[in-house]
Amino acid sequence: MEASLSELLFAGVRLMFIGMTIVFLFLALLVWVIGMSARLMNRYSPEEPESMTAALGARDSGGEDENIVAVITAAIHRHLGK
């Protein structure tokens, strides 16, 4: 019983160690990604409100179907080409 308990406690310590590491790594990575993407966005596409408003229902977007078809064609080739 004691033995198993000590094992249990050890497993707990181990999980505590692993868990906190994962949580930190994950959120630290998130910090980095947020920073990166913020920088990227402000460089390449400095907030164009018109596009956002356009998103709210404008349908003046040419050739989106080719768009889909293209992407999916590519996808399928990549997929079948294995």
Partner: protein, 375 residues
């Protein structure tokens, strides 16, 4: 610390299959189209998100016991599309159609988009690598109905495996109506025809609006019971709207209820977008056929309008024939827009709403035929 090893084995990184990666990209593409291009966002955003969720490795969100597997029951039972159809009925005003019943025929003609596509799908079997069964073809054809819930309802019954691709095609092309229809409409009409002005619509009495859904339901029950679930729920919604004594039920069914079901429906449709079901040549065929379907429907509607002008004195503007594909209210707006290119003072919108809603009935009827005759 083999705990980390264990954890690494449980990560997505170590379990991703190429197909899942691709499907997640497809999902994000749909989300992009929904948000940035305004492609039917109410449906394509949840569908895209559902596709992403269901292709996350290990998590098994779409597998037996996962959240989406439970939600999918709402499609399997037909409940979600039917409840949405009820809400759509509660949002639909049949006034313009009742004021000018002739326009129903435009809605009928436009259903050629469905049956033409059926033939097209079967013909595609000539292409090596493509293989559509009769059931598949029928399910794909319904894209031509340009009506989301109907398409999902029929596809979930005839070809559940194609549900994802069919729903995506249906909603995408509905969003693309402003690109697909105008060229066809211009090609098939003369400048004079596009200038035709139509007489002011008569006012339709409350009574007629209350009676119509019941009349429609009776005819369906008599002639095409297989369409009764779809048309029945649609009529219930419309009756609640028009009768004026169950305001609170009508409001709820066209707001909270339809919103809740829309989220669930979108996610469950997305849950059928697994790589093995979606990443097949057939999907390209479906996307191709979808475009064909909308084109056929539009053309048939316009030509029908021209034919009707032959035999009747009070002319209809053939542009409103294009609204017969439904895709409410987009295609009616398109008809109005194209009409105003020729004459800015010619307001066709209300006239186009007639064939527009007629198209909804038309495709529900066509759905009934498919469900009755395709085993």
């Amino acid at each position: 610390m083999n705990g980390f090893v264990e954890l690494w084995r449980s990560t997505g990184l170590s379990n991703f299959e190429a197909g899942q990666v691709v499907m997640m990209l497809v999902g994000f593409l749909l989300i992009y189209l929904a948000i940035r291009k305004g492609f039917e966002p109410l449906l394509l955003l949840p569908i895209g998100f559902g596709a992403v969720l269901s292709n996350i490795p290990v998590a098994g969100i779409a597998e037996e016991g996962g959240l989406l597997s439970y939600l999918y029951f709402g499609i399997k039972s037909g409940m979600f599309p039917l409840l949405i159809f009820m809400g759509v009925g509660a949002m639909t005003d049949f006034g313009p159609m009742l004021a000018n019943p002739k326009t129903l025929l435009l809605g009928a003609a436009a259903q050629f988009g469905i049956f033409g596509t059926l033939f097209g799908a079967l013909a595609l079997n000539l292409v090596p690598g493509l293989d559509f069964s009769f059931r598949d073809a029928a399910a794909i054809a319904i894209i031509g109905g340009a009506d989301g819930p109907t398409a999902i309802y029929v596809a979930s019954r005839l070809a559940p495996d194609l549900l994802g691709a069919i729903a995506v095609a249906a909603y995408s092309y509905m969003a693309l109506v402003p690109l697909i229809q105008p060229p066809i409409m211009r090609a098939l009409t003369t400048p004079e025809e596009r200038l035709i002005e139509m007489s002011q619509l008569r006012v339709v009495s409350r009574q007629e609006k209350v009676f119509f859904p019941m009349v429609l339901l009776v005819l369906t029950a008599l002639l095409l019971p297989s369409a009764a679930p779809l048309i029945g729920m649609f009529c219930l919604g419309n009756l609640m709207r028009e009768c004026g004594v169950v305001e609170r039920l009508s409001k709820t069914s066209q707001n909270e209820l339809i919103n809740i079901v829309t989220i669930f429906l979108g996610l469950s449709v997305g849950s059928k977008m697994s790589s093995h079901a979606f990443l097949r040549p057939e999907t390209l065929g479906i996307l191709l056929l979808g475009a064909v379907a909308f084109a056929c429907g539009t053309a048939a509607g316009v030509l029908m309008a021209k034919a009707m002008n032959r035999f009747s004195e009070n002319k209809v503007n053939p542009l409103i024939g294009a609204a017969g594909v439904s895709a409410v209210p987009m295609s009616a707006r398109v008809a109005n827009k194209v009409g105003q290119e020729s004459n800015p003072h010619n307001f066709l919108l209300m006239h186009a709403m007639g064939p527009n809603v007629a198209g909804v009935i038309g495709s529900a009827v066509a759905a009934g035929v498919l469900l009755a005759l395709v085993q």
